[in-house]
């Protein structure tokens, strides 16, 4: 009978992390970006399969990596939020609690499952100036190993984060209008895109959390709307 080889925990974790990183690096990037009246979620995505979705009144979701895995996470989030909002009140559903729950689920999968989740997700929660304690936008990122971080102004996940981030770093202005934010988002995504020309409206998935909408603040922008904002 052969003895199993000893592999150190460090090695196991490093291998899993590399596996997950490779899976994620193949995908396109998604940007979450604060603008004057909300949060913009923008991604290069010419397919009809959404990477960005609504979780609850003020909370949106974006995922990169393996579609089946992050879409499963999105559905878990919707279930978590709807159950909580029904049992307590709609205002009790908060981005931070949701992001923590995600961190738990993704982190557990990383340590306990043979294959880690090849995903990285953003949870964005738009502010509601009328509610005390809800005055600020919140953007959380959860990585494949469950590592959670919060971000101000913008956050990028996906394949080519460095190039997109450098573009955002140089051109981001606080409190810019939505049109400027969409153009900045597109311009930044161009840096990571394989093609040489600029991304058109039809190859972008654009959603917003608009603070002034009543109740459900998540909205998917139509291709026509995006086209008119890009001015092309």
């Amino acid at each position: 009978m052969s003895m199993p080889f000893y592999v150190s925990p460090e090695q196991v974790m490093a291998d899993k992390a590399e596996f997950a990183r490779k899976g994620i690096a193949r995908g396109k990037s998604i940007i979450a970006l604060e603008y004057d009246l909300g949060i913009l979620l923008i991604s290069e995505n010419a397919t009809s399969l959404s990477k960005i979705g609504e979780i609850y009144d003020r909370i949106g979701f974006a995922g990169v990596g393996k579609f089946s895995e992050f879409d499963q996470l999105r559905k878990i989030g919707v279930r978590f939020a709807d159950t909580k909002g029904y049992a307590y009140s709609r205002d009790d559903v908060r981005g931070k609690g949701l992001a923590n729950a995600y961190s738990q689920v993704v982190g557990d999968a990383f340590t306990q499952q043979p294959k880690p989740l090849e995903v990285e997700i953003i949870i964005a929660e738009v502010r509601d100036p009328r509610l005390a304690g809800h005055e600020h936008n919140a953007i959380y990122r959860v990585k494949y190993d469950g590592f959670i971080s919060d971000h101000k102004e913008w956050c990028v996940i996906g394949g080519n984060v460095d190039d997109v981030e450098s573009a955002l770093r140089s051109d981001f202005r606080p409190e810019m209008p939505l049109g400027d934010a969409v153009r900045l988002g597109r311009g930044s995504l161009d840096r990571s895109s394989s093609g040489s020309s600029s991304l058109g409206a039809e190859s972008l998935e654009v959603c917003v959390l608009e603070q002034d909408l009543p109740h459900r603040k998540f909205r998917r922008l139509s291709t026509d709307e995006v086209r008119s904002m890009l001015g092309s």
Partner: protein
């Protein structure tokens, strides 16, 4: 999608009979040129007492459908809330809203699950109405306590004053009413119901309590402003008193 167990369990050991919980009274719905209108009075009664003067009986269950409740207020309101959560949940999980038929069918199920409580007197008999985006028309349904679902082609009113509201609608309704005329016909029907039925609340000018009137069309749901109802109601009173107010 399936959380009917979250509805409160209502069972009473004394074997039926009347239970004093607030009851809703007259709600109505009818089609008009752009879609469907749903309206309700604001009074809730407990036996012969007023339980609440400004209860809301018309609920937006999603962006294109409305539920109006009559019966025991508690379970009715809870059912409207649960239906709203279920429709939103379905829409977010699937990426598309349910068809209007599917939504009405879901409500049927909720009512059927309430049957044991209904046998104890806690009856929920709502009207459900909405704009069918696929067929481009307003549609409305009434229900019985077993969850039976009956689509109405013209108008319907339920609750203790429903009979009087239906009489009024029979005289003034037609399928091509404009939005303005539809609101006028609704105010008239609710006023007639409040006039003949003691458990239906009329428009209360003293307290500034007006009927809830909502219109659902392709563009979504519109709630009629109190000011508009006020104007229509005063004109109606002036008409009926021959200008002696």
């Amino acid at each position: 999608m399936d959380h009917p167990h979250l509805l409160p369990e209502l069972s009473f050991s004394d074997g039926g009979g009347h239970i004093d919980v607030p009851h809703g009274t007259t709600v109505l719905s009818f089609k008009f040129a752009d879609g469907v209108l749903v309206a309700g009075d604001r009074l809730a009664t407990e036996g012969h007492r007023v339980a609440s003067r400004d209860v809301e009986k018309v609920f937006e269950t999603d962006a294109h459908s409305l539920m109006a409740i009559s019966g025991a207020a508690g379970p009715c309101i809870e059912m409207a809330r649960l239906l709203g959560v279920e429709l939103e949940h379905y829409e977010k999980i699937e990426g598309d809203a349910l068809e209007l038929d599917g939504k009405a069918n879901r409500l049927s199920n909720l009512i059927r699950q309430n049957l044991p409580a209904a046998m104890q007197g806690l009856v929920v008999v709502p009207l459900y109405a909405g704009y069918d985006l696929r067929r481009r028309t307003g549609r409305l349904w009434k229900f019985d306590i077993t969850g039976g679902r009956y689509e109405e082609t013209e108008f319907e009113a339920t609750g203790s004053g429903g009979l009087f509201a239906r009489d009024s609608l029979k005289n003034h309704w037609n399928p091509r009413l404009s939005r303005e005329d539809a609101v006028r016909v609704a105010v008239r029907a609710l006023t007639d119901a409040a006039d003949e039925d003691r458990a239906t609340g009329g428009i209360d000018l003293q307290r500034g309590i007006y009927s809830i009137i909502k219109l659902c069309s392709e563009s979504g749901i519109e709630t009629v402003e109190n000011g508009e109802i006020d104007g229509i109601y005063r004109a109606l009173v002036a008409e009926r008193s021959g200008g002696n107010v």
